[in-house]
């Protein structure tokens, strides 16, 4: 009788463990570490705010706020006037995707294979992003990563609109 009770308890325990493990191993319930980058960020110069979002499997960042949204030369909203394609020079900088095509490398904890666009010069750089304590290290480079420049971006915690 005692043996039977033990068996029932064991089966019950196993069933409970199975239930718990099936919950924790469900892929849908596991958050992708790459998604930690999603949010609104401010570069060190404070001139802009960039919203990073995920589209498909890649990460993109677009300018959502500019400290000086108006171009003093034209008295109109700033546009991508340095774009190599003349027909795309009217695209407003507010809303512009300056970070493109980043994928998250789980092993190195880096967002790689992306590019960063500097609208002030019209230059496009390869870019790799790392994150520590809600600070992004954005390293732009041409060709060799070691010869690049790193900027730090801080996360903005915006209040919800009522």
């Amino acid at each position: 009788m005692n043996n039977m009770k033990k068996s029932i308890t064991l089966v019950g325990l196993l069933a409970l463990l199975f239930t718990i493990s099936s919950f924790t191993s469900n892929p849908a319930s596991v958050q992708d570490g790459g998604d930690d980058i999603i949010g609104i960020w401010e570069p060190s110069n404070g001139k802009a705010r960039v919203k990073i979002e995920k589209i498909g499997s890649k990460y993109y960042g677009k300018i959502v706020w500019l400290r000086e949204p108006i171009d003093p030369a034209t008295s109109k909203p700033k546009v991508d006037k340095n774009n190599e394609d003349e027909k795309m020079r009217n695209v407003p900088l507010r809303g512009y995707r300056m970070l493109k095509d980043f994928t998250y490398d789980e092993a190195s904890k880096e967002w790689t294979d992306g590019t960063i666009y500097d609208p002030e010069s019209g230059s496009l750089y390869n870019c790799v992003i790392t994150m520590k304590d809600d600070v992004l290290n954005i390293r732009g480079y041409v060709g060799v990563k070691a010869l690049g420049r790193t900027d730090t971006w801080k996360r903005l915690k915006l209040k919800k609109k009522n």
Binding site: E53, I55, G56, S57, K58, Y60, K62, V64, E84, D85, E86, K87, M88, N90, V91, P92, R94, G95, Y96, R97, K100, D101, T115, K161
Partner: protein, 170 residues
């Protein structure tokens, strides 16, 4: 005499080179009608409307008996967006971009939207790199970054007509 023979030989070689080159000698235009959607509620500023377009193109070339290997290049010739009457004065600008899982996102068309416009003709980019590769790379997406003037509680739908030119050889 030798000069004439040499000239004929050169012409012969030149014409052979031209006839053997892989340049496209056929062109077809095809259009895709799709609806790009951003799920609301949306905040004032830039919002991303999105649609997948790879299946439309695969279907088109299949229907027309063209194989992927025959295609030399694809270019976007025109893009037009329709604005819903309820959003007539809401959308400020539309920036159209394409990308796929393995190829980078690129701007292909843009328009500032005039108030009250129901049909918006977008200015198409001169520089269109790797469009063929993007469109045939598994899943390819088209997105429109639509800048809106004020918050919107509902979804934003942008019906879009895209005209592509497809250059291929037989």
């Amino acid at each position: 005499m030798k000069l004439i023979q040499l000239t004929i030989l050169c012409f012969g070689l030149l014409s052979m080179m031209v006839s053997c080159s892989p340049e496209a000698n056929n062109s077809k235009e095809f259009s895709i009608d799709t609806v790009l959607t951003a799920s609301g509620p949306l905040f004032e500023g830039s919002n991303t409307c999105q649609a997948e377009i790879s299946s439309n193109i695969a279907e088109y070339i299949k229907e027309n008996g063209i194989s992927k290997e025959q295609i030399v290049d694809i270019t976007l010739k025109s893009a037009a967006a329709s604005i819903d009457t309820s959003n007539l004065n809401l959308v400020e600008s539309i920036n159209l971009q394409v990308f796929s899982d393995n190829f980078p996102m690129q701007n292909v068309a843009f328009a500032n939207v005039e108030e009250g416009s129901q049909i918006v003709q977008l200015e198409v980019a001169d520089v269109q790199e790797q469009l063929k590769a993007i469109l045939f790379d598994g899943k390819s997406y088209i997105i429109a970054d639509a800048t809106i003037k004020e918050d919107l509680d509902d979804d934003l739908n942008l019906p879009m007509n895209l005209n592509f030119s497809i250059n291929y050889h037989k």
